[in-house]
């Protein structure tokens, strides 16, 4: 049994409702039975977990004020839940919920709600297939269940902010979100992860999305954590008949990020589109593992991820498409493009196709390139300096993916934030803000 983070496992057993402690026990058994992944484990070949060898404490509630925390977030106009170090901060949140939307903390769930949560939780993020989903279960003390009633149309985005603060000791946060969209409901959701300060923190974040028949979700998962704020986690979605998921992903680099995005097309006619960006510099590391499961016929999936990797950073992109024998008439598309802006930057990109049905259309491609010298030269002939030209070109490379964001306020928030990643000198991004 891996001895990792024993504090968390010890703490988790304290005073949880019975249904939660049962789940913890099951999680612990699964965690104990698993070997810690090494570089020889295929799914972890390019991502080392040695940074998790530190002695992590359990996060304590923070009382820091908004000014002290000083994080940036887009004004999206709807409900906003702010968690600091895993604890909901009502004082920083806007808790009014639109009609038809229920938000239940696992720890507060009544018997009926607990039954509902138990039924769905872990049915999408399978702890037996995802080690850190079992760790999430093992440490499960609380979580958020967001339930959108059938036929509800939620106009404003629901905004969830998970912030890790900076402390003297390394600590860990277990974030768990379960979202159920009832039949024919529509909603948009922004999950934003961010960090303040330079302390060491590790978030294990698992989100499960259940879209019932005809439901429509615009989902965004933004990983803005920096420095020693590490994250391992993922988004696991199950799509019912004729449901529609658009999921946008962003990861700025930090010491360690590993995000699994798993989309199960479980009902005929379901569609998913995944768009993602990762931007790394310094010695940062980001690993995206995406897996698109087509289990039933007549589903479509589109996936586009782009990365810009600078300095001596390393990125991993593993894009799997699995088309099961019954999934006839599937159309699946996967594209991953990478821009290396330094000779020491690394990308390991691998499309993985497993196709067991014969009447399908499936396209995939992965490219790795450097800044185009002719484009740079053209810009210089117009007087634009070399550094600004590089900044414009690097931003241009991801701009098409940024433009897929349908929420204007979110796009306007991200554009200057992303542009700044390409240049230390703000004058170089003055034309991108």
């Amino acid at each position: 049994m891996p001895d990792l983070m024993h504090h968390i496992l010890d703490a988790a057993s304290v005073a949880a409702p019975q249904w939660l402690s049962e789940r913890q026990n099951a999680g612990r058994r699964a965690w104990a039975a698993s070997a810690m992944p090494t570089r020889k484990t295929e799914a972890w070949k390019y991502t080392s977990l040695h940074r998790l060898d530190a002695d992590f404490a359990v996060a304590q509630p923070s009382v820091a004020s908004q000014a002290e925390l000083g994080f940036e977030h887009p004004a999206l106009g709807g409900s906003k839940l702010v968690f600091v170090d895993g604890y909901l901060r009502a004082d920083l949140s806007c808790l009014a919920l639109p009609e038809g939307v229920e938000l239940i903390r696992f720890a507060d769930a009544d018997a009926a709600q607990a039954r509902q949560i138990s039924q769905q939780l872990g049915s999408v993020a399978d702890p037996s297939g995802h080690l850190f989903a079992s760790f999430s279960d093992a440490a499960l003390q609380d979580g958020i269940f967001l339930n959108v009633a059938a036929d509800t149309v939620v106009a404003e985005p629901i905004h969830l902010v998970w912030l890790t603060s900076s402390r003297e000791v390394a600590f860990t946060v277990n974030q768990r979100l379960l979202v159920v969209l009832g039949a024919n409901s529509r909603a948009s959701l922004v999950e934003q992860f961010d960090s303040v300060g330079s302390g060491t923190a590790f978030t294990n974040g698992i989100t499960e999305l259940v879209l019932e028949a005809g439901a429509h979700l615009l989902h965004h998962r933004l990983h803005l954590e920096a420095g020693a704020a590490m994250h391992i986690g993922g988004v696991h979605a199950r799509l019912g008949r004729d449901s529609h998921l658009e999921s946008f992903h962003l990861a700025l680099g930090s010491d360690l990020k590993r995000i699994d995005v798993v989309v199960n097309h479980a009902g005929p006619g379901a569609h998913s589109s995944l768009n993602g960006i990762y931007l790394l510099r310094g010695a940062e590391h980001v690993d995206y593992h995406t897996c698109i499961e087509h289990a039933v016929p007549h589903c479509t999936s589109d996936e586009t991820f782009r990365g810009v990797i600078g300095d001596s950073a390393t990125a991993v992109f593993n894009g799997r498409i699995h088309i099961h024998p019954d999934a006839q008439k599937t159309r699946a598309q996967l594209n991953n493009r990478n821009l290396l802006t330094s000779a020491h930057a690394t990308i390991n990109t691998k499309p993985e196709l497993e196709i067991y049905a014969d009447d399908v259309q499936c396209a995939h491609g992965a490219t790795v390139a450097q800044l185009d010298p002719l484009m740079l030269h053209y810009m210089k002939t117009r007087g634009i300096g070399a550094e600004e030209a590089q900044t414009l070109l690097s931003f241009g490379f991801i701009n098409e993916v940024v433009n897929t964001i349908r929420i204007d306020a979110l796009r306007d928030f991200l554009r200057p934030l992303l542009a700044r990643r390409f240049a230390s000198d703000p004058t170089l991004t003055r034309h991108l803000a």
Binding site: P373, L374, M375, H377, Y378, M379, K380, T381, R382, G383, I384, G385, A386, E388, L392, L393, F395, G396, F397, I398, N399, E400, R430, H431, L432
Partner: protein
């Protein structure tokens, strides 16, 4: 304005320009004609400092400065502009961002006050009208998916916004229909002034019906084979280039 003396240029291990000498005074319009492969485009590219173009001999002075001692962007700051024969597509970078970055830098380098966003937008839209380019093109990626004619008009748009001292127009007329050709000519003519010079690199006499050059040169085998006034262009139209190539050889 520009003094090119005995210029030799090598590209991909091949000598393309072999002792080219050309002097251009302020306010003058020079047309350079010549057969394919004679080095017409090479001249523009080497003046703009394109990587891969090696100067093996000769000197070029632009406004009194040794051009080869300057980086590409410094040449632009000094007032050199190359309108590309094949403008480069830059997906993801909008034409507007690109123009603003270029115009702001130019103003800064010339010590002029920066244009505020509103004035800049107004200028960009007015200039679009002058080159008959729909304003929607300002929002698109630089040259991305533009037709040949749209790309040429976009080059003209950039030239008008950047107000260079010397513009080298590399086959700006090729691939243009007669209406577009007139738009380009009107644009160039409107910019002619006593302190701005033009080099029109072209295959055909047609452009010179609309932009009257002060001098016409024929480039053959990497050198100026013959110079004259605009009547030389008509003679070339009539007789072709073969007789000149024979003369140089």
């Amino acid at each position: 304005m520009l003094k090119i003396d005995n210029l030799h240029v090598r590209v991909d291990g091949k000598d393309i320009l072999k002792g080219l000498t050309l002097h251009i005074g302020a306010g003058e319009v020079h047309a350079i004609m010549g057969p394919n492969g004679s080095g017409k485009s090479t001249l523009g590219h080497v003046l703009a400092g394109r990587p891969g173009y090696t100067v093996t001999a000769g000197t070029v002075e632009f406004l009194g400065q040794d051009i080869f001692a300057l980086a590409t962007e410094e040449r632009a700051h000094l007032g050199l502009f190359l309108a590309y024969q094949y403008p480069v597509e830059i997906p993801g970078v909008s034409n507007m961002e690109f123009l603003k970055a270029a115009v702001d830098t130019m103003h800064e380098k010339r010590g002029e006050p920066a244009l505020d966003t509103v004035s800049f937008m107004k200028l960009a839209r007015e200039t679009c009208k002058r080159v008959d380019l729909d304003q929607a093109f300002l929002k698109r990626g630089v040259n991305e998916g533009f037709s040949g004619g749209e790309k040429k008009r976009n080059e003209l748009l950039q030239m008008m916004m950047l107000q260079p001292r010397l513009a080298i127009m590399d086959e700006t007329d090729s691939g243009l229909d007669i209406d577009a050709l007139q738009v380009v000519a009107a644009g160039v003519n409107s910019m002619r002034s006593s302190d701005r010079s033009f080099v029109l690199v072209t295959h055909y006499q047609r452009l010179l019906d609309y932009i009257e050059p002060d001098f016409v040169h024929v480039l053959a085998a990497g050198r100026i084979a013959k110079s004259g006034d605009k009547s030389l262009a008509l003679e070339l139209e009539d007789k072709g280039y073969a007789w000149l190539e024979d003369e140089v050889a």
